[in-house]
Amino acid sequence: MSVPVDTQISDSPALGPLLEEMQTLGEQGSTGPLLSLRQHAGEAFRRLGFPTTRLEEWRFTDVSRVANTRFLPDPRPPELAAERLAPFLYAGCRNVVLLNGRVVSELSDLDISDAPGLTVRSLAEALEEPAVAERIGSLLPPDQHPFVALNTALFRDGVYLEVEAGARLEEPLHLVFLGETPDGQATVSYPRNLFVLGERSECTVIETYASLDDGESLTCPVTEVLAGASSVCKHFKVQKESLAANHLASFQVRLDRATNFSSHAITHGGALVRNDVGALLDGEGAVCTLNGLYVVAGEQQVDNHMRVEHKKPHTYSHELFKGILDGNAKTVFNGRIYVHREAQKTDAKQSNRNLLLSDQAIAHSNPQLEIFADDVRCTHGSTTGHLEEEAVFYLRSRGIDEAAATSLLTYAFASEFVDLVEVEALRRDLQNFLFSRLTGGDIVRQAV
C-alpha cells in the first residue's frame, strides 16, 4: 500500500524534534527485539508522516495543528506532589500514576504482594523480560497507523498489567495519566500499556487522562490487551484533559474463547481527541461491549473510530456511543464491523446517537459493515438531532423553566450510558461533570 506523504506536513515543525528523539533513543535506549521494533516503527512513521485529510481514514480528522506545533518530551524525572494528584483519584482503587507518560513510583501501588496472581509494573522495567518485550506491538504493529508508529518508536514508559490464570483483581486498577507542560513548553507523551489477562482471570481497569495545567500538549497513548479464554475484563477510559490538549489514542484488544470484555469511554476534555479502538473476537463465544459517551462544546473535536472484527463463530459485539454536542463542536463516529467468512452466528449491534444542543455543532456518523458470513445478525442505527420540542414542553408545563428542562432532558439522554458505569466513584464523577456542564445543573442534581 503506498501512502501519499504531504510534503508540507513532513516539513512540519513537529517532525524535527521527533526524528531527533528517535535517533537518540535508537542510540542509547533499547536492545534486542525491541530495538529493531522501534527502528522499524521509526521508519514506518517517516514513511507514513502525519496523516492528511486526503486519506479516507483521516478525512474528518485534521491533525495539522498537531503537525504544526513543536512538541518536546518532558526532560524532568517523573515526580509529583501527592496533593496535586488527589483530585484525580477515585476511592477504593489501586493506582498507578504517570506524569507525561512515565510512572511516578512514589505515588503508585506497585507493591501488590497482597494480591496473588497480579503483576503491576512500569512497562519500561517489565520490558527487561523478553516475554514482555515480544508482546509489544503484537496486536498493533507499527506499520499501519502513523500514531501507533510514533508511539512505538518513542514511548518511554507505561503500565504493564498481568493477571494470572484464575486470579481476580478485587479493586479496580486506576491508571492516572497526567500531563504537565513545564515552563509552558508544548509537551508530548507516548504512554504505552500492555495488559496480559490469563484464562478465567477477572479485572477492572480505569485509564484516566487529565492535565495539570492549560498548556498545549499531545498525548499519544497505545494500549494493547491480550484477554485470555473466559477472562472478564471491564475497562474504562476517561479523557478529561485541558482544552489545549491533543489526544490521539490507539487501543486494541484480542478476545479469546468465551472472553467477556467491556469498555466504556468517556470523553469530555481535549481540543482534538481521536480514539482508534479495535477489538478482535478471536475465540468462539467471545462477548465484546464497547460503549462511549462524548460531551463536547466550543471548538472541541472528538472522534471515535471503532473496528470490531468477528473472526470466530458465535461471537457477540455491542456498541453504544452517545454524543452531546454544543457550540461549534464536531464529532466523528466511524463504526466498522468486519465479519469473517468463518464467523457464522455472529451477533453484532451498533448504535450511535447524537444530541445537538446548538445549530453549529456537527456529528458525523458512519457505520461500515463488511460481512462475509451468511448466517449472522448485524444491526446498526444512527440518529442525530435536537431535543424533542414536545418533551421540553412537557417539563415546562409542570413548572420547570426552559433551561432546567433542557438540562434534565440532556441528562436523561446521557443517563443510558451513565447507568452502565459500574464503578460507583467513576459514575459519580461523571454525574458531577454533567451537573457542572448543564446550565440547570442544580435542578438536575436534585432530580436524579
Partner: protein, 251 residues
C-alpha cells in the same frame, strides 16, 4: 376563572381553532367532546402554552390575566395543569425527584417555602393513594417503561401533587380499560373542590359517566357548536357527531 374569546390559532399556516369561545368558573367541570381533528388537543396545548401554535386572534383570560402572554412554566406556577394525552418518557430522571423539582419550582415562584425531602415524601405517600399508583413507579424514571394505564395514572398523580387551580385533561381516558378508567376518574373526583376547575377533553362519553360534568361542549372544526348539560354527552353517544358536523358546516 378562564375566559376564552373568539380564539383563533394555527400551525404551519393551517388554521385549527377558528373562533372558539368558552367560559369556565371555579368549581366547575367542563367536558369538551368532538370528533378527531376538531381541534380539542390543540386547545389543550394552546392553553398550556405550546409554542408551536400561532395565535391569530382572540384572547384567553385566566384569573383576570392574559394567559397567552405567559411562558408554559409561568402558567404552571399560576396553577394551570395539562394532563398529556401522550406523556413523555424521561429516562434517567426519577419520577419522585422530577416531581419534587416541579413542585418546588412552583412553590418558589409563588414565594412559598420549598419542601425538603422528608416533607415531600410525606406528601407523596398521601397523594399516591389518590390514583392507586404502585409506589415502585415513584422510584422509576418518569414514564420510562410505564404501561399506557400507568402513564395516565401518573399524570393524575402529578396533578394531585401539584394541586392546580385549572386542570386540563387531554384524552386521559384513551387507551384505558374500565378498571383503570374508574381509578383515574376517582382520582379526579377526589380533587374536585370549589376553587378548582376542570376541562375534560374526551372523544367518548364513557369517561363522563364517572367524571360527571357541569357543562358539555361539542367542538367541531375549531369551534364550539353546541353546549349543554351532561345529557348532551348521552345524546352524542347515541346520535354520533354527524348531525353537529352538518350544523357546523351550515354555520
Amino acid at each position: 376563572m378562564l375566559k376564552i374569546e373568539n380564539l383563533k390559532a394555527s400551525v404551519e399556516g393551517q388554521e385549527i381553532l377558528r373562533g372558539l369561545s368558552l367560559e369556565v368558573k371555579a368549581g366547575e367541570v367542563h367536558a369538551i367532546m368532538g370528533p378527531n381533528g376538531s381541534g380539542k388537543s390543540t386547545l389543550a396545548q394552546v392553553l398550556a402554552g405550546r409554542e408551536d401554535y400561532e395565535i391569530d386572534a382572540g384572547s384567553v383570560t385566566y384569573d383576570g390575566e392574559d394567559l397567552l402572554e405567559l411562558a408554559p412554566e409561568e402558567r404552571a406556577q399560576k396553577g394551570v395543569f395539562l394532563a398529556f394525552q401522550y406523556p413523555v418518557e424521561i429516562p434517567g430522571v426519577s419520577n419522585t425527584y422530577f416531581l419534587k423539582a416541579a413542585l418546588n419550582s412552583i412553590r418558589k415562584a409563588r414565594g412559598e417555602q420549598e419542601l425538603d425531602a422528608m416533607e415531600f415524601l410525606k406528601l407523596v405517600r398521601e397523594k399516591v393513594k389518590v390514583v392507586d399508583l404502585d409506589e415502585s413507579l415513584m422510584k422509576r424514571p418518569v414514564n420510562d417503561g410505564f404501561s399506557g394505564g400507568e402513564k395516565k395514572r401518573n399524570e393524575i398523580f402529578h396533578m394531585a401533587v401539584l394541586e392546580p387551580r385549572l386542570a386540563i385533561l387531554d384524552e386521559t381516558d384513551s387507551g384505558l380499560d374500565i378498571d383503570a378508567l374508574k381509578t383515574v376518574a376517582a382520582g379526579v373526583n377526589s380533587l374536585r373542590t370549589d376553587g378548582r376547575a376542570f376541562l375534560v377533553i374526551t372523544h367518548y362519553q364513557r369517561l363522563l359517566e364517572y367524571i360527571v360534568p357541569d357543562v358539555v361542549h361539542v367542538m367541531v372544526d375549531g369551534r364550539i357548536v353546541q353546549s349543554g348539560g351532561k345529557e348532551l354527552a348521552l345524546e352524542l353517544e347515541s346520535k354520533g357527531y354527524g348531525w353537529l358536523e352538518s350544523k357546523a358546516g351550515a354555520a
